[in-house]
């Protein structure tokens, strides 16, 4: 059995290790390692399209994860204050946001937004008689909103779980000692849920940064890193992509380790 487990771990990590190894290859080929070089990292980072896609992805992931952390945490706090029926409806919607396949989230958002723009844009144009009227279009906004939907549901669930295990005695003690609700929230509740909020933010960031399929539908003219990488892969496997893949893998591993570490923080003082 141990041999089998070792084989499975090798199976999990060998392909990744190969990509990392060949990102440092001096030559162009995947079958032979002809020497150590970081030239592909230089090539990747001096490719303007790639850098643009990377910047877009960082902006979108940061914004959607921030929004998701804020709204998701607020929702989890709000859900602790409502009746069982409202809660059940909300939980079902949050569950749906997580379970509905990405392709379906992508196309339904695309379809709904295009319809909406079809109504709103002529209306805006009628308000701007002379100048160029503002035009709503797919882009940053739609990607952020579509990513945020899944992430917000994820944050609401993680923070909700944490709230469920919150020590109620502390909250009661705090109000017995005449703390205002706001003070109680700031000094008792918030510190206890903060690790869950941060973990939620980091996971939301990772998800948004990695997502291909949802962005593929709602990106409009924008390019994110996964969309760029996908397009390049279809043109052929190159060492430059190995370098990007390595950077992304290392970054996601760091983020996930950070998120896990945050989740395991018991008392953050």
């Amino acid at each position: 059995m141990r041999a089998f487990v070792v084989a499975v771990f090798a199976f999990l990590y060998l392909p990744i290790a190969l990509v990392v190894l060949f990102s440092f290859n001096a030559g162009r080929h995947a079958s032979e390692f002809t020497g150590f070089s970081v030239q592909w990292y230089g090539k990747a980072l001096s490719n303007p399209f790639l850098v643009e896609a990377l910047k877009n992805s960082l902006f979108i992931a940061t914004t959607s994860a921030l929004l998701a952390a804020l709204c998701g945490t607020a929702a989890a706090l709000g859900l602790a204050r409502v009746g069982a029926r409202t809660r059940a409806v909300f939980d079902a919607l949050l569950g749906a946001a997580i379970v509905v396949p990405g392709v379906v989230i992508g196309i339904s958002t695309l379809v709904a937004l295009v319809q909406l723009f079809g109504v709103v844009n002529p209306f805006l144009a009628s308000l701007w008689p002379n100048d160029q009227p503002p035009r709503l279009a797919l882009g940053y906004g739609s990607i952020i909103a579509a990513h945020g939907l899944f992430s917000m549901a994820l944050v609401a669930m993680i923070v909700g779980t944490r709230l469920g295990s919150l020590d109620r005695n502390l909250v009661e003690a705090s109000s017995d000692l005449y703390a205002t609700p706001l003070t109680t929230f700031r000094s008792i509740v918030l510190p206890q849920i903060m690790p869950a909020v941060i973990a939620g933010f980091l996971l939301a960031f990772t998800f948004s940064f990695d997502d291909f399929i949802v962005a593929f539908f709602v990106a409009g003219a924008q390019t994110t890193l996964p969309i760029y990488v996908f397009a390049s892969i279809r043109r052929g496997v190159t060492p430059e992509i190995n370098a990007i893949a390595t950077i992304v893998l290392v970054a996601s591993v760091l983020l996930v380790v950070l998120a896990q570490w945050q989740l395991r923080q018991r008392k953050p003082n």
């Binding site: 060998l14 392909p15 607020a74 379906v104 339904s108 996964p226 591993v253």
Partner: protein
């Protein structure tokens, strides 16, 4: 008193407001939109034209291959995942040395939270012409094609979703009351019948959770069949991308999307029914 209740309600509304707006505008309304689109017609230049017809649904057999591939490879992939995952979860939960357990578990989880695109790309690299086939040719085999086959897609599926299968099984095995195993042995059961009657049986809820999670995600999969199936092994997800982004047949695409969601719901309901029957569903934390 009255103002207290008002304030309580106002704060609750304030807290839930943004999330509600988000869920309604970007989940409920879009879903209603594709439901409406699915009974519409394709406009002559592409897109949607209002109508009320079930012609799109009647036309579903036109994409039978995509449905067939998905309906065969998704369960097959989930099953293959399960067969690989179970021994690993078993080892981690019941056999691994205590101090190694968390490290090994983290090693299982980390790939799941890293980019599926990059991990699938890694296999394009390994299975592609310059990877294993080049190695095999070097050893003496000729004309080996690994990539762009159903086998490659299946391999990609197992690779991509293995962590998601290991985790819930690990959780249910880890919670297993070890005294039951001793009791079973004390009562003269062989290791095999202890495994079948106690261990396996008590881990079935975890198995169901993992299986249904992987199945649901596979039903909407796009990247793995595209990158490792090379346009030959296409899934429903590929049909959807084609219909919405290339041929711009939105009503037909919507009908397929609605069907996909319905199939997912059926799978989830069946899984939760089976789990409940097996011994009460347990919540599993995925992170």
């Amino acid at each position: 008193m009255r103002s207290n209740i008002l304030r309580h309600n106002f704060l609750t509304a304030l807290l839930l407001g943004p999330a509600t707006a988000w869920l309604v505008v970007f989940l409920v309304l879009p879903f209603v939109a594709i439901a409406v689109f699915s009974v519409g017609e394709r406009a002559p230049e592409g897109g949607y034209q209002a109508a009320f017809t079930f012609a799109q649904y009647a036309n579903l057999p036109a994409r039978a291959t995509a449905f067939w591939n998905t309906m065969v490879l998704a369960p097959a992939g989930a099953l293959a995942c399960l067969l690989v995952a179970y021994p690993v979860a078993y080892y981690l939960a019941l056999r691994a040395p205590e101090r190694w357990r968390l490290i090994l578990l983290a090693l299982v989880v980390i790939p799941f939270w890293t980019s599926l695109l990059m991990r699938t790309y890694a296999w394009m690299y390994v299975l592609g012409g310059r990877g294993i086939p080049a190695l095999l040719t070097y050893v003496g085999f000729e004309d080996i094609r690994l990539i762009n086959t159903p086998g490659a897609v299946l391999l990609g599926i197992v690779y991509g979703y293995l962590p998601l299968m290991i985790l819930p099984i690990y959780v249910s095995l880890e919670r297993l009351d070890r005294r039951l195993l001793e009791a079973s042995a004390d009562l003269g059961a062989t290791p095999i019948s202890t495994f079948l009657g106690v261990t396996l049986r008590l881990s079935l809820p975890g198995v169901m959770t993992g299986f249904s999670l992987v199945m649901i995600l596979l039903l909407g999969e796009y990247l793995i069949p595209t990158l490792l199936g090379g346009g030959k092994v296409f899934f429903i997800g590929n049909a959807l991308v084609d219909l919405f982004l290339q041929s711009r047949n939105w009503p037909f695409g919507s009908a397929i999307a609605i069907t996909l969601v319905l199939v997912s719901v059926v799978v989830l309901l069946a899984a939760s029914r089976i789990s409940t029957r097996l011994s009460g569903a347990r919540r599993v934390d995925l992170i």
